[in-house]
């Protein structure tokens, strides 16, 4: 199994389609930018935040695997590496979007934050400070992405991670938890500067966990039909399905905690966030979000048979990926778009651009991964001790 084989399993037609999607999406976005300039930046922010989230998701999967020593998924570890390897590309783009769009944040306008009580927020959201922070988060993530993907790719198969790799992963988790929380607050939560929720970071964490796992599942099923025929077994699919089910439930759990507590206490400045999203035309999207991200995946993935079926997993994964877009759309657009949702050139363009460019980027990154040999993989069928005895 050489490197080219992994890449070439994407048929030229598929690659052409991705190119077409990216180009058309770019064009539509440009057109949208001319027609509805106020909707351009929110969609770019959405796109950038989503893309960086997938990269972070890949890194998280690497870190989890290193720290728990769960080697069951090593057969298709190239997928999480490729996901993580997209981060160095997407992070600068998001940085550019953020720097270019600082002025679009409501708090940028003077007089938006009260003099007396918002002293902390005023300082925290100084535009210069904001920019410096954004760049540093993204830079830190980029550095980790480069180092972790490199360490993962270099890992001596089929043994566990190196001591350095484990340390790197542990350090990443610590740094990630601190920066991702603040980044979410800075970039998304501050779009509605009078609203705050402590669960917001955990909520986004749930989102990137389930969506990155959906991406990995999608790629694993796809690769199973191509070069990784022997590496991805039915047990792997079942485990992926179980994890997808679990992460989807985790997302739902955090969603419920945040929603229920705000609904229950009904404090005006908090409830405003949900009030705007559960009224008018936003309401169907709001409820669809729950259905797409949890209810349907949950109901579909509950029986054992559907967790072992590649076809069903693909559909559920696509649903969860679309659900992630909708989720972030519902975080960003109601605060910038006002009373009603709009799907126009900007939204469709950004979506198509994301699918196309993201797919190409992923394929490109996948190409660089070293694939484990069949012999190396065969010892992964059993449990850990079996591998310990396997010849190098």
């Amino acid at each position: 199994m050489n490197r080219e084989a992994v890449y070439s399993c994407a048929s030229p037609k598929a690659v052409r389609l991705l190119w077409a999607s990216a180009l058309l999406g770019g064009l539509a976005l440009a057109l949208g930018g001319v027609l509805q300039p106020q909707r351009l930046w929110p969609n770019l922010l959405l796109l950038g935040f989503l893309a960086v989230g997938f990269g972070l998701g890949g890194l998280l999967q690497i870190a989890f695997r290193d720290l728990t020593g769960a080697r069951w998924s090593d057969g298709f570890r190239c997928v999480r590496e490729a996901l993580g390897a997209t981060l160095p590309w997407t992070a600068p783009i998001l940085a550019a979007i953020l720097i270019a769009g600082v002025a679009s944040y409501p708090w940028y306008r003077p007089g938006m934050l009260a003099e007396e009580t918002d002293w902390f927020k005023r300082g925290w959201l100084e535009p210069e400070f904001f920019t410096v922070r954004a760049i540093s988060y993204l830079a830190i993530w980029m550095i980790f992405a480069l180092a972790m993907v490199r360490a993962s790719r270099r890992e001596a198969a089929p043994g566990g991670p190196t001591r350095a790799g484990v340390r790197l992963s542990a350090a990443f988790l610590v740094v990630f938890s601190l920066t991702f929380w603040l980044a979410g607050t800075d970039w998304i939560m501050s779009l509605e500067p009078h609203w705050c929720s402590t669960a917001f970071a955990v909520y986004n964490f749930g989102g990137i966990l389930s969506s990155s796992l959906a991406a990995i599942t999608l790629a694993a099923v796809w690769l199973q039909r191509g070069p990784l025929k022997n590496a991805v077994t039915r047990e792997h699919l079942r485990d992926l399905g179980t994890l997808l089910l679990g992460f989807s439930c985790f997302w739902m759990y955090i969603w419920f905690c945040q929603y229920m507590l705000i609904w229950y206490t009904n404090v005006p400045e908090e409830a405003a966030y949900y009030a705007s999203r559960t009224h008018g035309l936003w309401a169907p999207l709001f409820y669809a979000n729950v259905a797409i991200n949890w209810a349907i995946p949950f109901a579909v993935l509950l029986p054992r048979a559907s967790k072992e079926s590649g076809g069903i997993l693909v559909k559920v994964s696509l649903l969860v990926l679309a659900g992630r877009w909708l989720d972030v759309y519902l975080m960003i657009l109601p605060s910038t778009n006002g009373d009603a949702p709009a799907i126009g050139f900007c939204e469709l363009g950004a979506f198509a651009l994301g699918v196309g460019a993201g797919g190409l980027l992923f394929l490109q990154a996948l190409r660089k991964s070293r694939q484990l040999s069949t012999r190396e993989l065969s010892c992964h069928a059993g449990d850990a001790p079996v591998c310990a005895e396997a010849p190098r």
Binding site: F256, Y259, M260, W263, Y264, N266, L302, R304
Partner: protein, 386 residues
């Protein structure tokens, strides 16, 4: 039901697994395997399909969740809607936690009871290990000698080749045949136990029938009545602290109730005439409210004897109580209001005094009604009940 079996005992998991594979390759029927722990992968080696207990779990969970959702909705929005902090009666987000717990509880209990049922496990059941040590470190493979073609010797050899430490033929009694009746002495014993159980049940039910026979002449039992009965005497209860044994004491004689002015008349006919001269009805005939009140008072207090139309044909009089004179003819029509008031207040001949029952206003109102009965256009009886 009993069946002939071949039992092979193994010391190691690996030997057992090898034997299972060999036996299946030889197309022999495996009745069961006995092991001290859940041997990993043995189900696949045996070719057994996954258990369907998952369905019990799913069904139990769903019913638990639906029931709790329904219960919360029904109790909070239908049976007893209560305003709690302005929350809507059907507060779905607030019902999620309890519905979830209901789901987990029902799913868990259903699954476990389903396991106990299908695996026929019950408290107090005798443990009969197939071979000693099967709960410790031995594995036993049981082959069923389904038909005459079964070659026990060949099978034994096959098993010994897989390092069985002991192979023996045995007749196994089924614990329960499909019809649920064990054979022989066991059957008799079981039947006797069943009968004793039934007898006990019957005794309990019969006792309950008698225990639950309602006796309406006694108040129902109470449990933890808490503040239902305070130690204070209620106004109608017996009271040992007063000589007359009552809690509610009569006022001292001569006391006037609030707003009442004393009447300075004696209970004689002469005084009645004087009252007729001196007293005037405070209500006028046009006072509709007083008229309605008078009709009610008349209906309540006078009709039993005087009858609805004042003819002296009330139910009490018809039954034998000395009939009063008609109110609408004769003397009464000529009496002034004051005299009627005196008669109502102090009584006359067989008519008892009504001062204890009727307030002066009610007496005057009743007179108003009597007057209206005496005028021909007035309705003869009042249908309105109090």
């Amino acid at each position: 039901m009993s069946k002939r079996t071949l039992v092979a005992v193994f010391e190691h998991e690996a030997d057992l697994m090898r034997a299972v594979a060999a036996v299946r390759a030889a197309d022999l029927k495996i009745d069961d395997v006995y092991a001290p722990y859940a041997v990993h992968g043995l189900d696949r080696a045996l070719g057994w399909r996954p258990s369907r207990l998952g369905w019990a779990c799913a069904l139990g969970g769903m019913s638990g969740a639906i029931f709790m959702l329904w219960l919360q909705w029904w109790t909070s929005a239908v049976s007893w809607p209560l305003n709690v902090g302005g929350k809507p009666w059907n507060s779905l987000p607030a019902f999620v936690p309890v519905a979830f717990e209901g789901m987990v509880l029902a799913a868990g209990l259903t699954t476990v009871f389903a396991l106990l049922a299908v695996a026929r496990l019950r408290p107090g059941k005798k443990t009969r290990p197939i071979v000693p040590g099967v709960a410790d470190d031995r594995f036993a493979l049981v082959l069923e000698e389904a038909d005459a073609a079964f070659d026990a010797a060949a099978a034994s050899k096959l098993l010994r080749n897989c390092r069985a430490v002991e192979v023996s033929e045995r007749v196994l009694e089924d614990e329960f045949s499909p019809l649920g009746a064990p054979a022989g002495a066991a059957r008799t014993r079981l039947r006797r136990r069943l009968n004793y159980l039934l007898l006990l049940l019957l005794a309990v039910v019969v006792a309950m029938v008698f225990l639950t026979l309602p006796d309406p002449s006694r108040p129902n039992r109470e449990f933890f009545p808490d503040m239902a009965h305070s130690p204070a005497y209620s106004s109608a209860s017996a009271n040992p602290n007063f000589p007359d044994g009552k809690t509610l004491q009569s006022p001292v004689p001569g006391v006037l109730t609030q707003g009442q002015s004393p009447l300075h008349y004696d209970a004689t006919d002469a005084e009645a005439l004087r009252a007729g001269r001196e007293l005037r009805n405070p209500f006028s005939a046009k006072d509709a409210k007083a008229g309605a009140r008078g009709a009610l008072v008349f209906q309540t207090y006078c009709t039993p004897c005087h009858g609805g139309g004042g003819l002296g044909d009330g139910a009490v009089a018809l039954r034998g109580y000395p009939a009063p004179p008609s109110l609408v003819t004769g003397d009464t029509t000529k009496m002034p209001d004051g005299q009627l008031f005196h008669i109502i207040t102090y009584g006359r001949v067989n008519m008892p005094a009504q001062s204890g029952l009727l307030s002066p206003e009610d007496r005057w109102a009743a007179i108003l009604h009597i007057r209206s009965l005496q005028t021909p256009t007035a309705p003869k009886s009042i249908e309105a009940k109090p």
